[in-house]
């Protein structure tokens, strides 16, 4: 346990809730919480009518949000009465994102979908939207609960943390040593995942050693360089690398491959299947953790449609989401997409995003 | 030596600038093997004419004939390729590059493979400087660290390093002292022998008589006439230039010299100011003579707080004080007219009005607010007093002729009404008419109790205007004379005496061995 790892607490002051160790589903959803989301004020009744939605992801122009956009397109096509457009800043910038949302509220839309760069910063503008009768649903990265109606949660933080840690431990053993490559320490999702991972690891694998965490932006060559530096710094001490973003994971895999250390340094991380296929095929990477971002976008549109149609109101415990079947409500106002998915050599070729 | 046929011929050249007709149907020619002088008041159009020849400007009307063909030089490169080399009035060098590179920029010697031959370039540069009798310049030195005089020498070497058929020199001697001027003349005569046509511009009339074969006078952009130099006299030329005769170029009024205002004692800022002691009194004009690089400007800048002294003491009105910035100097009533007007004296892209008020901004403002009315009055007063030729006070200074720019610098500092006025080459590039005017003003100011420290490379000016003459050499004050005591020869001897020739030889040796070692 190094000194910096000790400080991981998700950069906010929320408590961590590690799931139970091992395979037992002990951490099944806690008791139902009352609805804590917000409400659109006197929205026009558009039940069954065509609606226009705008999706403002953290940033546009990266693979992950290209996939969620694709999911939204699929849902819109399937539903037939939804039009959805994606637009947002070109850098993950809290200020620009707010500007975009502001503009869309002015423009007048029926619903806003968002993935927040900062849960608090985005809240005022979302509240404005609710006040003006615009429905607001988040996905991927949450805002303060009362600033939106529902949040489609791809997987709970502690669930992801458990999958990641379980996967890496499966490869390097319960007393293995590993390091992490993340985007930045201020990115909320990543920060929380790391915090949950640490809590889970301390609880379930106290002998595993967490060597270091490095930042690498959303830049793949920087990620590659950082992974290389970690490999060089720790030598044989390093047994595993965890990539916290869909950029860092393939870059770490690449670094391991180019260093000729496949099999000696395990790579596990969040990533999209397409980027990981070569490494999984070459057996350098055994497992990749992710939900399906296409499904995430798809679910978000379905949730929004259900809200507009009045079929999904506060207090509901589940919602039906097209091909995904029914999704359950957790934490008061979150719709859970499901447990995180672990891709491996057997199933990775079934996915294309 | 003159074969009578024109090498370069300009006919009926017209050039207009916004608001100004700079050249009005001027015809002019140079023959192979002659020195053709071009004279005229400040702003008469001399520089414009030669810039047309060298391809910087294109004429609005008229044509140019070069060795029998009508030509049009659209770029300076085109003129250069035709063998026209030019020394411009404003020094145009690359401050970050070495002396050698400055000399050969654009036509560097090449190796067999077509790449630049640095070794040859350095040795050729050394040769070029040696042919000008310049041994104290290191060809590897950055030009940015040279004094104006030395930069002028580099500029001359640069022009002479090209194989020129026509050599144009726009006031090449403005920043040079006697010996350097002599050397330059020797070279010009040599080129003349070789059949080069030389166009020579200068405001020092005696140079015209020494060097030129023919002379053309421009006035208000029009050609007043061309004549053989032997057929004319100085008065005649002046008359043609300014339309009147100048009685006395040095109208020195003897003033009452009062108590000391500026006393300096063993002031040092090595390596260029060493142990200088000097006293400047009210009403006194102190002329400071010296060779290029003798440290006069350096001393002035030390007094003005630009390069504060490292030791010694400065007393103003008897009170010892610390001068560590120009602002401090100005507060003490010291003003400095710098020698390098382009970078130090003026903010060229700004208007005449703004430049003239620059040093007295605080005085003409109410608190921090600029009083535009007062500013305009001040500018107009200066334009009238020094007869600055301009289309108005809003004219950008960079659009003025060289001499008129110099007048703006003078005006700017005289406006500040200081107790001590330090002037570094004050009449550089100023025409005879205006020169007399400036000398008169200087003298008047002295009579009213101002103390003037005048640095000049023109001995006649030093002799004509100073109450006291001091001579600097290698950073030290080496001699001092009172008005009337000294002859030109004595001063010149004080400027040069010492080990100059010996150390020159030493340098030649080390230079050539370095060259061989390289």
């Amino acid at each position: 346990q190094t000194s910096h790892a000790a400080r991981w607490d998700g950069a906010d002051d929320l408590p961590v809730s590690p799931l139970a160790c091992g395979d037992e589903e002990g951490g099944a959803m806690a008791a139902a919480m009352p609805y804590d989301g917000g409400m659109a004020m006197n929205p026009p009744d558009k039940a069954g009518e065509e609606i226009t939605l705008v999706d403002v992801p953290k940033l546009i122009g990266i693979g992950y949000f290209a996939a969620t956009t694709e999911g939204m397109r699929q849902a819109a096509e399937e539903l037939g009465n939804v039009k959805v457009k994606t637009d947002g800043p070109t850098e993950a910038n809290i200020d620009d994102q707010i500007t975009f949302l502001d503009n869309f509220i002015t423009q007048g839309v029926d619903g806003l979908l968002f993935a927040a760069n900062d849960p608090v910063a985005i809240a005022p503008v979302l509240r404005t939207a609710l006040k003006k009768g615009v429905h607001v649903v988040g996905y991927d990265a949450n805002s303060e609960p009362d600033a939106r109606e529902w949040f489609v949660n791809q997987a709970e933080f502690n669930g992801i943390a458990k999958s990641m840690v379980d996967s890496i431990v499966a490869e390097i053993g319960e007393d293995g040593k590993f390091a992490i490559v993340t985007s930045t320490f201020t990115t909320p999702n990543q920060a929380r995942w790391i915090a949950e991972m640490q809590a889970y690891q301390e609880k379930c694998f106290p002998n595993a050693e967490w060597l270091e965490t490095v930042e690498a932006q959303e830049d793949n060559i920087l990620s590659f360089n950082q992974a290389n530096t970690l490999i060089n710094k720790y030598g044989e001490d390093l047994q595993g690398l965890l990539g916290m973003t869909s950029v860092a994971t393939p870059a770490s895999a690449e670094a391991v491959t180019q260093a000729g250390l496949c099999g000696e340094v395990a790579v596990v991380g969040l990533a999209t299947p397409n980027a990981m296929k070569p490494y999984v095929a070459s057996d350098c990477v055994k497992s990749v953790v992710l939900w399906n971002p296409v499904d995430l976008g798809y679910a978000a549109v379905h949730v929004m449609r259900a809200v507009v149609d009045g079929k999904f109101a506060p207090g509901a415990t589940e919602v039906s989401a097209g091909r995904l079947g029914t999704l359950s409500v957790v934490n008061g106002s979150e719709v859970l997409l499901g447990a995180p998915y672990v891709f491996n050599k057997d199933n990775i070729n079934d996915f294309d995003f | 030596m003159t074969d009578g046929r024109a090498l370069l011929e300009l006919s009926n050249i017209v050039k207009r600038f916004p608001g100004v007709l700079a050249l009005d149907r001027v015809s002019f020619d140079v023959r192979a093997g002659e020195v053709h002088a071009l004279l005229g008041e400040n702003g008469a159009g001399k520089s414009t004419l030669i810039k047309i020849i060298s391809g910087v400007y294109q004429p609005d009307e008229g044509h140019i004939n070069f060795s029998g063909n009508t030509v049009r030089f659209n770029t300076p490169a085109a003129a250069q390729n035709n063998g026209i080399a030019t020394i411009y009035q404003e020094l145009l060098l690359y401050p970050e590059l070495s002396v050698a590179e400055n000399i050969f920029m654009g036509h560097a010697p090449k190796t067999r493979f077509g790449t630049i031959d640095w070794r040859a370039m350095r040795s050729l540069a050394r040769e070029q400087l040696a042919s000008l009798d310049i041994y104290d310049l290191d060809v590897n030195q950055q030009v940015g660290s040279l004094s104006v005089g030395n930069r002028q020498r580099v500029e001359i070497a640069k022009a002479l390093s090209q194989d020129a058929r026509v050599l144009i020199m726009d006031e090449p001697t403005a920043a040079l002292t006697g010996a350097d001027v002599e050397r330059l003349f020797r070279i010009v005569r040599l080129l003349r022998e070789r059949g080069v046509g030389v166009i020579y511009i200068s405001h020092r009339l005696e140079e015209i008589f020494e060097l030129a074969d023919r002379v053309t006078v421009l006035r208000d952009g029009a050609c007043v006439g061309t004549s053989q130099v032997i057929d004319t006299t100085e008065d005649d030329l002046i008359n043609r230039m300014v339309g009147r005769t100048i009685e006395d170029l040095y109208p020195k009024q003897l003033s009452r010299i009062g108590e000391p205002v500026l006393e300096i004692e063993s002031l040092s800022r090595p390596p260029l100011t060493r142990n200088v002691s000097l006293t400047l009194r009210r009403g006194e004009i102190l002329g400071l003579a010296g060779l290029v690089g003798s440290g006069r400007s350096e001393l002035a800048q030390t007094l003005f707080g630009i390069t504060p002294a490292q030791s010694g003491c400065i007393k103003v009105n008897g009170v010892e004080c610390l001068i560590d910035s120009p602002a401090a100097a100005i507060k003490l009533g010291i003003a400095y007219v710098p020698e390098d007007r382009s970078t130090q004296g003026l903010i060229k892209p700004m208007s005449i009005r703004e430049n003239i008020s620059m040093a007295v901004l605080k005085e003409i403002s109410n608190g921090n607010l600029i009083n535009h009315l007062a500013e305009r009055e001040l500018a107009q007063k200066n334009i009238n007093q020094f007869r600055i030729r301009t289309s108005g006070m809003e004219q950008k200074v960079e659009k003025l002729s060289g001499g008129n720019q110099q007048k703006v610098v003078l005006g700017k500092w005289m406006a500040s009404a200081p107790d001590v006025l330090i002037m570094d080459e004050p009449t550089r590039g100023i025409d005879v008419g205006a020169k007399a005017e400036i000398h008169r003003t200087m003298s008047e100011l002295a009579c009213r109790g101002m103390a003037v420290l005048m640095i000049s490379s023109e001995l006649p000016e030093i002799m004509g205007m100073s109450d006291t003459i001091a001579v600097m050499r290698e950073g030290r004050l080496v001699a001092s004379f009172t008005r009337g005591d000294a002859t030109q020869e004595q001063i010149a001897a004080a400027m040069m005496s010492g080990s100059r020739s010996e150390s020159d030889e030493g340098l030649v040796d080390s230079n050539s061995t370095k060259g061989a070692a390289a």
């Binding site: 950069a11 503009n103 201020t186 | 608001g19 100004v20 952009g221 108005g392």
Partner: protein, 335 residues
């Protein structure tokens, strides 16, 4: 020569004055602004409404505040790339001083402004006394100050400010967003100082020829020190407004701000080589960029296309001014 052409300008005919104004860069910008306003207004009726416009003012306040001192700095031929990082640092100081050290929020705000000024003064000190070129100095502090922000905050955000604090970023005064008052006041003062005072004149002189300005006895170093400090201070002010607007403090606040600000200033006609530029131009530049972003978004143009349009406008506006100037220069002797 000095047959000075008969000066038409003595009798300033309304027409020629109007033409001169229209041909100035500010004129060109104003025309572009008007045209875009008109075009955008015909595309959507949600654009030209008081609500929308006021809201846009809220959004552009931070860039606007920082752009004013940046104009000063660029006029002197310098640049300040560290403004974004100073903004981040100040925001963190504000948050951390209040939350972690328990200082009263009012005091934390003052501390935030002082930090900004100090950060700017450090830039100024190295630039004037040590002689580090501004670009290099601020490139280094761009990394340094951001690093401080991360270090001090340990990359944690600070939230949960008291309600009154949000008044500055989210509230209104007489129906006008609070920060717009700040912006307008700062704008008027800076414009006045630049155009009327000795200080302003000195900035132009320094930009054109620093040596010349120094030889004229202007206190060049002091002025430069002042403007870099001012720049830091305004970044601090902007950070306070920003934190108040977005209700949170993060160490990555203001990332990339420097380019937005420089784009606005340059679009406003301030020459990057120093010596020319006006506050009015900068104000127009800020407004034009903000309205283009907003208007294009409202008419359904996507973000990627919008930034392309802004790139084109940036180049074209300078191109048009250059063209107008050269036309003016060649026409003059003819008439």
């Amino acid at each position: 020569m000095s047959r000075v052409a008969p000066t038409v300008s003595r009798m300033p005919s309304v027409l020629s004055t109007a033409r001169r104004l229209a041909l100035s860069h500010e004129g060109v910008l104003l025309i572009i602004l008007m045209v875009s306003l008109l075009v955008l207004a015909t595309q959507t009726d949600r654009f030209l409404t008081t609500d929308n416009l006021l809201n846009q003012c809220r959004l552009m306040a931070e860039v606007g505040l920082v752009a004013l001192p940046m104009t000063y700095i660029i006029i002197t031929g310098g640049i300040d790339l560290s403004v974004g990082s100073i903004l981040g640092l100040c925001a963190i100081v504000l948050g951390v001083a209040w939350k972690n050290y328990g200082l009263p929020l009012e005091f934390a705000i003052v501390l935030c402004l002082v930090t900004g000024a100090a950060a700017g003064a450090v830039n100024g000190y190295f630039i004037t006394r040590v002689g580090v070129p501004p670009l290099i100095m601020t490139l280094a502090t761009l990394a340094l100050y951001r690093g401080f922000a991360e270090g001090v905050s340990q990359s944690r955000s600070v939230r949960g400010y008291p309600e009154w604090f949000y008044q500055f970023g989210q509230g209104e005064l007489f129906g006008i967003p609070t920060q717009l008052w700040f912006l307008i006041a700062a704008l008027l003062i800076s414009a006045f100082v630049l155009s009327r005072t000795v200080f302003g004149r000195a900035l132009y002189a320094i930009g054109h020829n620093e040596t010349g300005a120094r030889f004229s006895g202007l206190a060049v170093d002091r002025y430069k020190m002042l403007i870099y400090t001012f720049s830091g201070f305004m970044a601090g002010l902007a950070s306070f407004v920003f934190v108040s607007r977005v209700s949170t403090t993060r160490s990555d606040m203001g990332t990339g701000l420097e380019l937005d600000v420089i784009a606005a200033v340059v679009l406003g006609g301030t020459s990057i080589f120093g010596g020319t530029g006006t506050i009015i131009g900068t104000a127009l530049g800020v407004v034009l960029i903000q309205l283009l972003k907003n208007g294009l978004a409202l008419t359904g143009v996507k973000g990627d296309a919008t930034i392309m349009v802004i790139g084109v406008v940036l180049i074209c506006s300078i191109l048009i001014t250059n063209f107008a100037r050269s036309r003016q220069a060649t026409e003059k002797p003819g008439d």
